[in-house]
Every structure is written in C-alpha cells, then in structure tokens.
C-alpha cells in the first residue's frame, strides 16, 4: 500500500484532566472519501482541529505527505494542502460571493505587496487570471449568477456550497468538511452527497467528512471511522460499521447486564 496522504498516529490531546482524544490512529489516502462519525461530544471536531492546527496534540504524530504538521499554524497547514469548512458557516460576511473566493487565492499570489501598492507590471494580468479561475469555480458550483451578491444574502445551502468553493480555491489535496449536512433538508442532503462525490472526482482530492447524518455518511464514504469518548471504536466500510456492535452501543446505548448508558 502506498504512503497515506494524511496519517494520524497515536494522537492524544488533553485539556487539563480531560483526554478529549486518546491514542487515535487514522489515515487517509490520495483520492479517498473517508468519514468520521460518533455521538455528540465524541471528539470529532477536536480531531479536525488537531489536523488543521487549531490544537496541538499532547502526544502522537500527525503527518501530511510524510511531513509532520502537528501544532503548525493553521495558515501554514492550509498552504501544505489541507482545506476545511466549518460546522457553523464562516464566510467573510462583508464581501461579495466572488470576493470570498478571490480572498482564498491570496496565498497563491506571485506578486506581493509592492505590486498591490503601485499596481505594478503583471498585477493586472494576475488579477485577471484569478478572476477567471474564481469565476470558473463559481460557475461549476452554480454560484456564477450570484457572484456579485453579498454572501450573507445566499440561502443556507448556497452558503455551504460557497464555503466549499472557497476551500477548493486554495487548491487543496485534502478537504475536511465539518458537518456539511447540518440543517439541510432531505433534498439538499441528496444534492450535497452528489456534490461531495463530484468534488472528489473533479478535483481529484481526498475528502474527510465529519457528519451526524448517517444517511449521508453511509451513502458516500468508502471508509468510516467511529469515535466515542475520544477513542476510535470501529473502522471499516459502511456495511461493516452499520452492524458493528460497539457502534450500535455507542449510538443507541445497549443494556448489557443492568448498566444502562
């Protein structure tokens, strides 16, 4: 098997006396669509925050393309090629739809501040190129018609999509989606599933999905890891996870000999 794209080994993070994540092992390969599920407070978002550099692991290693990224600043991790979306949508509220995407091209700029100050030679060409690429991305996700609208005016599903477009504009190799289906109705969820598969295919990237909605996760993820109380209790394809006793116990609570959960 080839070297994984992202490799978490024995990752533990402790907040005071609380072990939020403990001895977590997980890896994602190129072009893989993996899911991370677990009951509320299981540590899913904490794992996300560990990967994206918001938290530093107390112990263990996080490697991306073979290089350690544990505890690196979030923007540096994005530069390495990991983009993310947020559970509670975080767009740049004062900007238009287009400018939200344009801002994400910032780190790929060849021309620095001196060009921006004086509108130096080559700036116009680069700005035109960015405009074209951002426009293309928006068109792919059917946001082209509303590119000049304020992003806050988009409907909920549109804002979710825009957040994904913005993440893709950083040209990631791995995209982390934090509960993208939250607050969506069944139709929107079906569209979202198609969208995620489309993103994976079209941009040839790996996707890690944190999700509550079983239908979404089971429907699209090739491999699913289940966490509970910061510990991975199961990992495998959807069919296996669905009938795994430990998972059922974690989600539904099973009365085993009087000690109900």
């Amino acid at each position: 098997m080839s070297e994984p794209l992202l490799d978490l080994r024995d990752v533990t993070v402790q907040f005071g006396g609380l072990k939020a994540v403990s001895g977590f092992n997980f890896s994602i390969h190129h072009h893989e669509l993996a899911g991370l599920i677990g009951p509320n407070g299981a540590g899913k978002t904490t794992i996300f925050n560990l990967i994206t550099g918001v938290y530093r692991p107390t112990s263990g290693s996080i490697r991306f393309e073979g290089k350690s990224i544990a505890g690196k600043k979030p923007y540096l991790i994005t530069k390495r090629g990991i983009a993310r979306t947020f559970q509670n949508i975080r767009l740049f509220d004062s900007m238009s739809v287009f400018d939200n995407v344009r801002a994400a091209f910032n780190m790929h700029l060849r021309h620095g501040i001196a060009h921006a100050l004086w509108r130096g030679r080559g700036l116009a060409a680069e700005e035109a190129r960015i405009e074209e690429q951002a426009g293309e991305l928006l068109d792919i996700f059917h946001l082209g018609e509303v590119r000049d609208a304020s992003c806050a005016s988009l409907p909920y599903g549109g804002q979710r999509r825009l957040e994904i477009v913005r993440a893709l504009a950083t040209r990631p190799k791995l995209i982390l989606l934090d509960e993208p289906a939250a607050g969506m109705n069944p139709t929107e969820k079906t569209e979202l599933m198609d969208l995620i598969r489309f993103v994976q295919e079209k941009f040839d990237i790996a996707v890690l999905l944190v999700e509550h909605d079983m239908r979404v996760v089971m429907g699209i993820c090739e491999r699913i890891a289940v966490v509970d109380y910061g510990v991975k209790i199961a990992e495998g394809p959807a069919s296996e996870i669905r009938c795994n006793q430990a998972v059922i116990r974690a989600y539904l609570g099973v009365d085993d000999g009087g000690s109900a959960t």
């Binding site: 994206t52 918001v54 600043k73 979030p74 923007y75 994005t78 530069k79 983009a83 993310r84 947020f86 509670n88 975080r90 767009l91 740049f92 509220d93 004062s94 900007m95 400018d99 344009r102 801002a103 994400a104 091209f105 910032n106 780190m107 700029l109 021309h111 620095g112 501040i113 060009h115 921006a116 100050l117 004086w118 509108r119 030679r121 700036l123 116009a124 680069e126 700005e127 960015i130 304020s150 806050a152 913005r166 993440a167 504009a169 950083t170």
Partner: protein
C-alpha cells in the same frame, strides 16, 4: 501599459500643482484650514486601513504622527547645511523639493519602524486590549520626547523651514488615497478584509493574519509619519502635547464618522470634522446667540460627542460605511 488609476493619480497631482500656483491668493486663515484638511485626510485614510479595513482598534495614531513630525523636523533642522549644499547645483526649486521629499520619507520610515515595533508584540491582543496598548504607546512617545533636550523637550521644537505647501499636502493625500485604495481592492489586500471579517476563516484559507495586522499597522504608521512631517513644516512649531490622546481620538472620530472601511466616507468626514470646529467658533461668536449657548459651542468637545452619540444611534456603520462587519456569533 498605462493604467487608468495611475493616470487619474497623475492628473490629480497635476491639478493640485496647478491650483497650488494660485495659493497666494488664499487668505492665511483659509489657507491654514485647507492645509489642515489635507493633513487630516492623510491621517484618517491611513488609520482607516487599521481601524476600518483590518478591523483592529488603534488609538495611537497621533503617537506615530509625532514620530514622523520629530524625525522629519530634526532632519531638516540638523542636516540642512550639508544636504542643501550638495543639492545646490540643481537650483533652489529642485534642491528644496528633493530635500523635503527626503525629510518626509525619513519621517514616514521612522514612524513605520515604530509601527512595526509596536505592532509585532501588541497585535496579539484584540479589541479593547489593543486600544489600551496603542494608547499607552502614544503616551510613552510623548513622555520620551518631553525629556529629550535635542528635540526641545516639553518646550517644543521650532522648525525653521516652512516647506509644506498646498501642493505637498494634497499630493501626499492623493498618494495615500491611491495606495490604500489599490491595496484594499487587490486580491492581496483582501487579506486585510478577511482578518476583519473572520480571523479563523482567514487562517483556514491560508492567510497569515498576524502578518496582515502588522502590515496594516506599519503602513498606517508610515502615512501618519508623513502627515507628521507635513504638519511640522507647516506649523513650524511642534510640541509633544499637540500629539496627545485627544489628537488620536480626533482621527478615530473621523474614521468612525466616515464609516469604517469606506475611504470616500473617511475623506468627507476628515473635511467636515476639520471645518466643524471653525464653524462652531464662528457660530459661538454670533451676538444673537445666548451667552451660554455660545460657550457650549465654543468647546468643540461637547458638540462633537453629541454628534457622535447621535450618529451611533442612527447610523452605527458611519455616514458611508456600507457593508461593515457584523457582530460575530461565537
């Protein structure tokens, strides 16, 4: 390869030059106000980069202005002899232009370096905490200058050469506006706006938020330094008390009134708020006003604060602030 925006800047500067030829026809009182307006435009537009576009809160702009004022003034005072002698063969006009341009650059650079030094440690702080640190910086600068004899200490510093004129002030204001607008309209400069809107999301799209904050701070300080240099060679007398906390508040008021993150609004606010105290003074001297009302109007701080309260109640985003940052959900 000649862009429209560059052409506009050059036309503006040429226009300013043409108008400045007739500045001798303007009475000294009005000339004084016109120059003050220009200097305040530079200060407010540059502070807007920090307080408006980047969403930080600096209360130390007058401090950076004083660094620039003293740096430029000491340069023209102590280095005039050798420099003007070297430049003399170019003729009086060219030599003074180059010499004063150099002095302003030195003022700007000194203030920019001060901005960098203050910005790096203090921009880890947010909101009120940052405001307090920048306020403290302004006071420190003041106290330091008050105790340096070579700079005149608390007595102030007399500047022999009044190089500043209408052309210099408004050319610099045009350049400031040009640069700030270029910056915030570019993809690069959108980094500032992302920091204001959502720092976590900004980092998530690969933007080094600390870098952009320090950059905004340094650039704003640079232009404040230039404004300081212009001010010093305009009033020909500077003293530390002139760059106190109240001066910083004046500039912040212009930014808030104009609308954070709107350069047009801030320029208009700078004009209005420079004229307002003069107009109030004129109004307070009207004989038909009752004495107490005149006294009230004469103290500009009272109408100022009333104006601000009124504005915050009716238009919290400022006169021209359109899409300002909304209060963030946690």
């Amino acid at each position: 390869m000649f862009e429209r925006s560059k052409a506009i800047l050059l036309i503006a500067i040429a226009g300013i030059f043409a108008v400045s030829r007739f500045s001798s026809h303007i009475g000294p009182y009005y000339y004084d106000i016109i120059l003050s307006i220009g200097i305040n435009i530079i200060l407010a537009v540059s502070l807007n980069l920090v307080n408006g576009y980047t969403g930080q809160f600096s209360l130390g702009h007058a401090g950076f202005m004083s660094v620039g004022a003293y740096a430029a003034a000491s340069f023209t005072t102590y280095a005039a002899g050798p420099f003007l002698r070297v430049l003399a063969p170019l003729g009086p006009f060219a030599s003074v232009t180059i010499f004063f341009g150099l002095a302003l650059s030195i003022g700007g650079l000194a203030a920019g370096i001060a901005g960098l030094l203050v910005g790096i440690p203090s921009l880890r702080l947010k909101g009120d905490y940052l405001a307090i640190v920048t306020l403290g910086f302004g006071e420190i600068i003041k106290v330091v200058i008050e105790n340096v004899d070579a700079l005149g200490g608390a007595r102030g510093f007399s500047v022999a050469s009044g190089y500043t004129n209408l052309f210099w002030v408004y050319a610099m204001a045009a350049v400031t506006i040009y640069i700030v607008l270029n910056l915030v309209n570019s993809t690069y400069g959108h980094g500032f706006l992302t920091v204001r809107d959502d720092e976590i999301a900004a980092e998530a799209v690969g933007i080094n938020t600390t870098k952009f904050k320090v950059l905004a701070f340094t650039l704003a300080a640079f232009f404040a330094g230039i404004a300081g240099g212009l001010y010093a060679h305009f009033k020909q007398y500077i003293n530390p008390e002139g760059f106190n906390f109240l001066k910083s508040v004046d500039i912040v008021t212009m930014v808030i009134l104009g609308g954070m993150g709107s350069t047009t609004g801030v320029v208009i606010a700078a004009i209005l708020l420079t004229i307002l105290p003069e107009w109030l003074r004129w109004l307070s001297e009207r004989p038909y006003l009752p004495h107490w009302l005149g006294a009230l109007l004469e103290n500009r701080m009272i109408p100022y604060s009333l104006l601000l309260i009124l504005l915050m109640l009716t238009r919290p985003q400022g006169l021209f602030g359109g899409a300002g940052p909304k209060p963030k959900k946690a």
